[in-house]
Amino acid sequence: MIIVMIRALVLYCAVIAAVRMMGKRQIGELQPAELVVTILLSNIATLPVEDISIPMTMGLVPIFTLVSIDVIVSCLSLRFRGVRRAVSGSAKLIISNGEVDRHAMRELRFTTDDLMAALRSQQVFDIKDVQFAVAETTGTISVCPKKSAQPPTAADLGLSPEESDPPVMVISDGKVSAAALRHLGLDEKWLTKIVKAQGCQVSDVFIMTAADASDYTVIKRGDMK
């Protein structure tokens, strides 16, 4: 049993390393090639754990071979459009100028129910409100509503609000994020001053977010229910 535990631990580390090697793209929406690698990885990793007569190398070698190939193919896709199209396919317009392209839908084997479900998931409930919709290579549908169906923007209303970055987490559970402070161009001195002004110490802060030196929010541990 201890062998199974050790093998599981080793393969867990190997799969984590493999997924980290594939990068952040892997964790989000999957391209067809990445989906294939993910499915294969999960299957390959379980075999040597379940069956101790299979050598560990028979699990590790295919895992790292697949991941290496995946990284190399994605780098080639980045450089060559032909490779990208061969591996990931290309996005397809299914609604253009408010008109549904039935030929494209047939090609994608996309039913009208699928289309309506995809539109609803994008908060579009009436097909006549759609200017165009694209079936992405990841399988998701991107929808652009008609101008008349879009909520007015600040520009539509003739407003020009100041552009600013969203607030970042400066303190999380009593721990200061040096990277966040650097991002804001602030330092620990400023942070200590703000925290003291709240009548507490850094370790007493549960969450502190800041957009700049004057725009911040502090939630102390004592404020929590």
């Binding site: 090697m21 990068g23 101790i52 007569s53 299979i54 050598p55 560990m56 190398t57 028979m58 070698v61 790292f64 071979t65 991941v67 290496s68 190939i69 990284v71 190399i72 780098c75």
Partner: protein, 123 residues
Amino acid sequence: MKRLYLSIFLLALLTAGSIFSAAYIGRENDRLQELCADIREEVLRGEDTSEEVEALCDEWERHCKIMAFIENAANISAVTAEVARLPALSQTNSPDLIQQVDAVSAQCALLAERQYPHIRSVL
């Protein structure tokens, strides 16, 4: 770019490892086949086979430890079981010794062949 270099390095390492393991197993198989042939000859000549059988057992013992990293344990255990019968057959000058050596030789050859990419093994 770091990931690309790492992937190329890993792929090169795995390819080198695969080629090296195939070459190692091929070489070890040749050695085992030689020992099997020597035992056969000695049996046919009616000479004492104990030394050659011991050499074969030692060679297999060393070889199977490395093989355990690349081959299914069940396949290795099968050959180990066949090899383990050789000393007793050699001591009693059993007429089954040649058959047993042939079995060991065939199984070793099969193990070695599994490491080479043939159409039948790949598909």
